[in-house]
Each structure stands twice: as structure tokens, then as C-alpha cells.
């Protein structure tokens, strides 16, 4: 066990630090949550720079535009870039979810053609799984793809698609056979998002922002050559993608602690920093143990992956714990400010109103990428091996499954 760098890792870190110092934008004091849209072009330019320097997708093979390094190198990169005001993990869904899917299922020439452009963020990718009637029950999806000769015709609607408005391609899961049981009737493809028949509509969130989209497919076309895996084999392919997603987010998802730690040291009430309040210290201790625990758990997981293991469902715990504490921290922060806590003006509220914004964004974090409840199911069934619920839709043909008021 060694939490410090090996000489080779230390070397790599020095090299990364030097490059960042020369190329990255320093953090500005208390920089609040920026809008994703605004950061987009900046992010693309930044990624191209990173790619040209050879640091993009550190764990990918060189021939696909990666650096051919280990998960540990990726951690080192993330730790260092986090010290700068540059987006890391901005294209995490494409590079974290879609990339591995292509590597696993696409033809060699497709990988050679597509992956480097994905790594450099010249092409942006999104993931098209969730639907209005298929959230926690992803396999309940209804968007159908019908084969016509050597292409597929797609009709239906996807939802909660991050970055769809910017995307060139998307990895999409479609219902290709409604007459077999729901898990057996799906197929995975990648689709050209810029074609006619694909309509992207932003979703206005409860916090007023629009990080997510609805995507409507109206006779959109996919050549069969863009099928990923077997016809009817979509669910297995999707599980692989989701597994990589959990690993990808477990590092980058906010848990609210660093901002809270800054707040309690700077916010003064009665001329005293609130960190001197024992009740605040009590919460601080509990949240720090969770914050530190998530970080160390993620690193243990990466060690396992670096040793050749698969990312396990344990990754779900970082998502579960971080999302809940993030919301409670934001709520507690506002309570400390009392009456003025309700003021959202960036100019007046501490840290550019980070906590006021966070209170309103936090509920989404508990839902996106799998709800708290889904995370607990995953841990219970996939990690602890506990029995599934008796399945009401077991063995039914998809078209016969009760679906209530779905819209």
C-alpha cells in the first residue's frame, strides 16, 4: 500500500504540472458554478490542446488517440488539472461511455476513424438510453428501430441526454423486437446526430438551467454498419456502457464538501467564523469522513482496474453518498445564513451564490445517472448478490407489459 507516487508516477506528475503551468488557466478565487453552454467552446479548444499534447484519454491505446497509460496516470492528470480553471470530464460521457462501447463493438476501421476525433473532442458524442417511460427501468424503452435492407429507421423519443445539442454522434439503444421479453428485444447502434429526423430540444430544469435535452427521432436513419453488437444483444452492450459510466462519474461528481469547507472558514456570523460553532464542526466531521471515504474508495477501485479488474458496481456508492450529502450540505449552508440565505444574487451570496444554486441543482444529481434507489438496488443485487424483486413483467412479451400513464 502506497498513497504516494512511484518515481515514474512522480516523473509523470512533474511533466503534467509543467505542461499545465504553461497551458492552463489558473483558478480565480471563489469561482462559482458556470453555465455548461458558455463553457462549451472553451472546453473544445482546451481538449484539442490536451490531445495535441498527448494527455487526452490517458488510458486509451495510442492508435485510438489515447496515451496508452494506466488508470493511475489518469488520476494524476485529474488531480493536477483540477487545480486549474479548465473543464475536466466535460466530454466524460462520450469518452467515458461511448468510447469503450466502440472499442468493444465497432469494426477496426471505425475505431481508427472515430476514436481519435472523440479523444480530441473534434467529434462530440452523447448517450441515448433513457426515455420518458423508461427511467429507472431503462430496459422499458420504446424507441423503435426497424430494419429496411441495410439500414435501420428510428422513431421515438429519448430524454435526459447531456450535450445532445452539441453532439455529432450518439450511442443509442433501440427496441428492435417488441414481441420478445423486454431484455431480449433491444439493439445498440451509433447514430449521426446531425441528420434530418433528429430533433434536439433542451429541457428546462427546476433550477432554470438546461443541461439536458429531449431528442426526437422521426424516421432517422442508421446504416447497419453502425450497429454495435448483435441484433437483440443491446442490453448486454448497454450494461457494459453503464458500468463504465459509473466509473467515469464516480471521480468527478460533486459532493459539496470542498465548497462547504471554504464557506465555514470564511462566513462570519456575529463576527465569528461559523467553523467555531460546534454544531457546524459536528456536521463538518461527518461530511468529511464521507468525502474522504468516497475519494479513497474511488482510488481503491482504480487500483483494482489498474490491476486488470473490471470496474465493479461498488462505484455506485460514491454516486449515492455524494449526491445525498451534496444536497444536505447546500441546505445546511443556507440555514447558517438564516434570512439572507434565500438571497440568490451572485454579488451578495457567498461564493457567488454557490449554495443557493446548489440547493436547486442538487435534486438532479440524486436522479441523473441512476436514482438513489437504483444505486441501492445495484449494490444489493450486483455487489451483495441479494435476490431480485419478484418481476411483474417476467417472461411477458414487451408489448404486453402494463405501462399505466406513461407519456
Amino acid at each position: 500500500m502506497d498513497f504516494k507516487d512511484t518515481p515514474e508516477q512522480a516523473e509523470f506528475r512533474k511533466e503534467v504540472q509543467a505542461w499545465l503551468k504553461a497551458n492552463a488557466t489558473p483558478k480565480s478565487k471563489d469561482s462559482g458554478r458556470g453555465s455548461q453552454e458558455a463553457a462549451y467552446d472553451k472546453a473544445k479548444a482546451w481538449y484539442k490542446k490536451v490531445f495535441d499534447a498527448g494527455y487526452a484519454c490517458p488510458t486509451w491505446p495510442k492508435e485510438y488517440g489515447g496515451a496508452g497509460l494506466t488508470q493511475i496516470h489518469k488520476v494524476i492528470w485529474s488531480q493536477e488539472v483540477a487545480k486549474y480553471d479548465e473543464p475536466d470530464g466535460y466530454f466524460v460521457i462520450g469518452q467515458g461511455n461511448c468510447g469503450p462501447a466502440l472499442m468493444h463493438f465497432a469494426a477496426e476501421e471505425q475505431k481508427k476513424a472515430l476514436l481519435p476525433r472523440m479523444a480530441s473532442a473534434e467529434d462530440v458524442w452523447c448517450q441515448l438510453f433513457s426515455e420518458p417511460s423508461a427511467g429507472s427501468d431503462v430496459a422499458g424503452l420504446r424507441t423503435k428501430a426497424e430494419q429496411q435492407g441495410d439500414k435501420w429507421i428510428v422513431n421515438g423519443q429519448k430524454i435526459w441526454t447531456s450535450g445532445a445539442q452539441h453532439s455529432d454522434y450518439g450511442v443509442i439503444l433501440c427496441r428492435t423486437d417488441p414481441d420478445v421479453s423486454k431484455y431480449r428485444g433491444m439493439t445498440m447502434f451509433y447514430i449521426d446526430m446531425k441528420q434530418a429526423g433528429v430533433d434536439v430540444q433542451p429541457i428546462k430544469q427546476m433550477d432554470g438551467g438546461s443541461h439536458f435535452n429531449e431528442v426526437f427521432f422521426n424516421n432517422a436513419e442508421i446504416p447497419d454498419s453502425q450497429r454495435l453488437g448483435e441484433i437483440g444483444g443491446g442490453w448486454g452492450a448497454a450494461l457494459l456502457v453503464l458500468m463504465n459510466e459509473r466509473l467515469a462519474i464516480s471521480g468527478v461528481q460533486p459532493d459539496g464538501f470542498p465548497e462547504f469547507f471554504e464557506l465555514v472558514q470564511t462566513l462570519e456570523i456575529d463576527g465569528e467564523p461559523v467553523v467555531n460553532n460546534p454544531v457546524v464542526r459536528d456536521r463538518l466531521a461527518t461530511w468529511y469522513t464521507q468525502h474522504a471515504g468516497i475519494k479513497a474508495s474511488t482510488n481503491r477501485m482504480l487500483t483494482a482496474v489498474a490491476k486488470g479488474g473490471m470496474p465493479g458496481a461498488e462505484a455506485a456508492l460514491g454516486k449515492l453518498v455524494g449526491a445525498v450529502m451534496n444536497q444536505d450540505i447546500a441546505n445546511f449552508a443556507l440555514q447558517l445564513m438564516a434570512d439572507t440565505g434565500a438571497i440568490c444574487d451572485e454579488a451578495m451570496a457567498p461564493q457567488k451564490a454557490h449554495f443557493q444554486k446548489s440547493v436547486l441543482f442538487a435534486p438532479g444529481i440524486r436522479l441523473a445517472g441512476g436514482t438513489d434507489e437504483v444505486m441501492r438496488n445495484i449494490i444489493a443485487e450486483q455487489v451483495l448478490g441479494l435476490p431480485q424483486e419478484p418481476r411483474a413483467d417476467k417472461g411477458m412479451a414487451f408489448k404486453d407489459i402494463p405501462s399505466g400513464n406513461q407519456h
Binding site: S130, P132, G135, S136, D137, G140, I159, W160, I203, K204, Q205, M206, D207, G208, L267, E268, I269, D270, V279, Q327, N331, L334, Q335, L336, M337, A338, D339, T340, G341, A342, I343, C344, D345, M348, Q356, V359, L360, P363, G364, R366, L367, A368, T371, D372, E373, R376, E389, R391, A392, D393, M396, I401, P402, S403, G404, N405, Q406
Partner: protein, 370 residues
């Protein structure tokens, strides 16, 4: 002993509920949420015509001469319907402040005006972060001219007059200030719940009339906040009920894995916990309502207890209602966030939860010592 409202009071509540469910749909609340108006003036007018602001004002002062219990059941319905009106600011705070702090002749002239809605009042006391500290007040008065800055003033941008906390020769007092005079500038503040908007008020030598009752300012403010805490707890449990109902309806109609989402234990137990928190808050609110109506010495403890459990229950109910909705709960389109925003706003006015927990303990120990 009778731990329930009377039939008459329940009738008043039913009337209020029927009126608001037809006149104050969430679609209408959204007109204020989305900034089409600073508050729902038309609804406020109807509410004035129904006499709700006059509920706890004596008949001699042009009120209905009903009691706080009647005001509590109305509060529950205002909370349930998220009514975007200055009821808290003008009724629970300004009107009650005048009842506590104004001299008889002042009450005789102002309360009738408030009873028939001639003007909208608000309370301007906070100057800095954290719960109110009377001793730290810097706003001051000299020769009936008031100067200073107040922040987080509920409905301060649209009220006609404010009850302002200020010191004169070092002694704190409350002053009635007309907000439509040139010496007053107001800045609306972006608020976590736009349907309970806050404002910053700047006074520069503004004409002010001292409330010249003989109660000590610090202690009357404490009583004022206790009264408001009880009334707010009813608005909060009304909101809890609405959020729980919304979650039940949605998950009962929605299916996943071939069965109703509401049939999964994770969801059922979530709702059970919301119900439990709400029921505890409701019972504590009832006790507070009784102590308020009976002006019982236990009011300070009962008010703090009602407030702390109502804050906890509404936070839990409003956030878990979003959670039970899944992704749709996070959309602007769905109403879940209206309750969540309201829960935040109601929990923060009068000083947040940690402040009231400390008050609760002080009072619990004082009673024990007595």
C-alpha cells in the same frame, strides 16, 4: 382536553381550501414564479375581500374578531396552495407587530386600514447574515428621520409601509415608515422562492413614526416571532400535505418493471417517512396553535417546537417528492420545485433551523428550571 379544531374552524378551513383550489392553481402561482408579476395582486384583493387579513383583528378595530386558531387553518391552506401574496409580511408580521408594539390610538388608526387592506405592510429588521440580533441594529432615528439599510425584507419591494427596527439614542424601537417616499429606495433581490420575494431597503432620512406602545422592543419581537413561527408552521404542513399528495398521485399512476412505482417498498417507505415527519409537525403545530390562542406561558417553547419540526418536515417532504418523481421531478415543467423552493424560503425567514433549535433548548431548560 380537546386536541382538535372546532367544527366552525374546520368549516372556515374548508371554505379557504375550496376558494384557493379554484382561484390559486399552480398555473396561477407560476405567473409570479416566472416574474410576470411581483405578487398576485388580484388574488390578494380577493383575499382581502374575504376578510382573511382581518381574522385576528378585534371588532373594535374593524376586524372579524376571530382568533388565532382561525388564522392557523387559513395559513395551512395558503401554504398548501403556495399562494403568492404578502400574507406573511402584512398579516403575521406587520399587523401583529402593530398589535404588540403600537399605542392604543395608533392601533385604532392603523389596524382598521390593515383589516380592509388599505395598505400592505412588511417587517424590516435584518441587516446582516444570520438570525436577527436586535443589539446589532445600526439603522437609527434622529428627529423622526430614519436612516439605514435593511436586507432580506419579505415582500419589501411591493409593500406600502414597513415596520422598521431602528435605534433612537441607543434604544431600539419599531417605526412605521411609508415606503413610497423619496427617502426610501428599494432593490428587489433574486430569491430562492420568487413567490416569496425579498428586497433590500435603503432609508435616507425617511419620515418615520415610532410605535409608542410600552412593551420592550426585544421581548415583543421575540413574541412576534413566536406567533409568526406557529402560523408559518401551518403554512409548512399545508405544503407537506400537498407535496406528499403529489408524489402519491404520480407514482400510483406511473409504472416501472411492469408495476406501479408506488408499489415498491423503497417508495412506499419514503412516503411513510414523509407522512410521519408531517404528522409530528402537525401535532406540534396544533400545540403551538393552542398556546398562541390561549396566550399560554408555554408559547415560546411550543412555537420553537412547531417551527423546528415544520422546517424539517417540509424540507424532507419537498425534496423526497422530487426524488419520487424521478427525472420529471427535476424539470421546471413539473410543480415539485414550487414546494421545494417554498420549503427553503419558509425555513429561512425569522432565522433558520439551527437558530430555532437553540431557542427551543433554552426555553426547555427555562421551563424545567421554573
Amino acid at each position: 382536553m380537546n386536541f382538535d379544531f372546532s367544527e366552525d374552524q374546520k368549516f372556515i378551513q374548508e371554505q379557504a381550501r375550496n376558494f384557493l383550489s379554484s382561484e390559486c392553481s399552480t398555473a396561477r402561482v407560476r405567473q409570479t414564479l416566472e416574474g410576470e408579476q411581483a405578487y398576485d395582486q388580484a388574488l390578494w384583493q380577493q383575499i382581502v375581500e374575504l376578510g382573511w387579513p382581518a381574522t385576528a383583528i378585534s371588532e373594535e378595530h374593524g376586524g372579524l374578531g376571530l382568533g388565532y386558531l382561525e388564522l392557523c387553518v387559513i395559513a395551512e391552506e395558503l401554504g398548501r396552495s403556495l399562494a403568492p401574496v404578502p400574507f406573511i409580511a402584512s398579516v403575521y408580521l406587520a399587523t401583529e407587530a402593530i398589535k404588540l408594539a403600537a399605542a392604543p390610538q395608533q392601533q385604532a388608526s392603523w389596524l382598521p386600514q390593515l383589516a380592509c387592506g388599505d395598505w400592505v405592510g412588511c417587517l424590516a429588521v435584518n441587516e446582516s447574515r444570520g438570525a436577527l440580533r436586535v443589539a446589532a441594529t445600526t439603522t437609527s432615528v434622529e428627529g423622526s428621520k430614519l436612516s439605514g439599510r435593511k436586507t432580506a425584507v419579505l415582500h419589501g419591494a411591493i409593500a406600502d409601509k414597513a415596520i422598521v427596527l431602528a435605534t433612537e439614542n441607543g434604544t431600539p424601537g419599531l417605526y412605521l415608515v411609508d415606503l413610497n417616499q423619496a427617502a426610501v429606495s428599494r432593490t428587489p433581490l433574486e430569491s430562492v422562492d420568487p413567490t416569496l420575494p425579498l428586497a433590500e431597503l435603503n432609508f435616507n432620512q425617511a419620515d418615520a413614526e415610532k410605535l409608542t406602545g410600552d412593551a420592550d422592543t426585544a421581548s415583543l419581537l421575540s413574541t412576534l416571532f413566536d406567533r409568526a413561527a406557529v402560523l408559518l408552521s401551518f403554512e409548512q404542513i399545508g405544503g407537506c400535505d400537498a407535496a406528499l399528495q403529489m408524489g402519491k398521485d404520480y407514482t400510483t399512476g406511473r409504472y416501472a418493471f411492469g408495476r406501479q412505482v408506488a408499489s415498491f417498498q423503497a417508495i412506499k417507505h419514503k412516503f411513510a417517512d414523509m407522512f410521519v415527519a408531517t404528522e409530528l409537525a402537525r401535532s406540534n403545530a396544533y400545540y403551538g396553535a393552542w398556546a398562541l390562542s390561549a396566550d399560554d406561558p408555554e408559547l415560546p417553547l411550543a412555537a420553537a417546537t412547531a417551527r423546528v419540526s415544520a422546517i424539517d418536515a417540509y424540507y424532507q417532504s419537498s425534496k423526497e417528492n422530487i426524488q419520487a418523481h424521478g427525472g420529471m421531478g427535476f424539470t421546471w415543467e413539473f410543480d415539485c420545485h414550487l414546494y421545494y423552493r417554498r420549503a427553503q424560503a419558509l425555513s429561512l425567514i425569522l432565522g433558520g433551523n439551527p437558530h430555532w433549535k437553540e431557542l427551543l433548548v433554552e426555553r426547555l431548560l427555562r421551563i424545567k428550571a421554573a
